[in-house]
């Protein structure tokens, strides 16, 4: 991983929530949500590992024949 990639990863995985808010990170996230695909547009396809067995799961396989509900979140 190069220096730029490390910075990218570190800024995404902030260590202090108050510093993140002070730097306007929460406002940038809200803007990112508004800029993301609108209803009616095509969703972006990705492949992610499944917790448990590590199987590579392609999102488009999950929404191929039935609607897919995707919830995003973390422990906190």
């Amino acid at each position: 991983m190069g220096e730029a990639d490390r910075g990218h990863v570190a800024s995404y995985n902030y260590s202090r929530f108050d510093d993140y808010v002070a730097a306007g990170g929460d406002l940038a996230d809200e803007a990112a949500f508004r800029a993301s695909p609108r209803a009616g547009q095509r969703a972006e396809d990705f492949t992610l590992p499944r917790l448990g067995d590590g199987a590579q799961v392609r999102l488009s396989e999950l929404w191929r024949s039935t609607p897919l509900v995707m919830e995003f979140g973390s422990f906190t």
Binding site: F33, F46, P67, E71
Partner: protein, 147 residues
């Protein structure tokens, strides 16, 4: 399906992710703690999928079969998602004879009610640092709204 992202309120017990192995361990903790029985997919360390879908900490999207966005909300409300799906699937699947199902788009504001005491207790499980940092963030938000 659930996509595990970065930790929104890192603390002493569940810190920010500095490796994919740590991210996987935190995802396992979430699965056990919250009893999530659904499939959990783990985003990469840079948050590639989270970024593409809008970076909010607790959001829900519904993608219709074939890959079209049907619903997006920057906060998860299970009753809201269920009500949407009931309406969406019923309207798409059945329409009066001679009528066509024509798609239209809505955008609306919703309200949620947060139980501060319960939220603070939840944060505390992640360590007192997570609570302190959220309190400081609240001060920043208050200052922002005053200007």
């Amino acid at each position: 399906m659930f996509v595990y992202t970065r930790e929104a309120h890192p603390g002493e017990n569940v810190p920010c992710h500095d490796s994919f192995e740590r991210k996987l361990a935190c995802a396992r903790l979430l699965r056990e703690d919250a009893g999530i029985g659904r499939e959990i997919l783990v985003d990469d360390l840079a948050g590639t999928v989270h970024r593409a879908y809008g970076l909010m900490p607790d959001m829900t999207w519904v993608i219709d079969r074939g890959g079209r966005v049907a619903y997006k909300a920057n906060w998860t409300s299970a009753p809201n998602v269920e009500a949407f799906l009931d309406r969406f699937l019923a309207a798409r699947g059945q329409h009066p004879a001679g009528a066509a199902a024509v798609m239209y788009e809505t955008q609306q504001i919703e309200f949620r009610h947060t139980d501060r005491k319960r939220f603070t207790e939840h944060l505390l499980r992640n360590g007192s640092r997570a609570v302190r940092e959220f309190e400081k963030a609240q001060e920043l938000w208050a200052r922002r709204s005053a200007t």
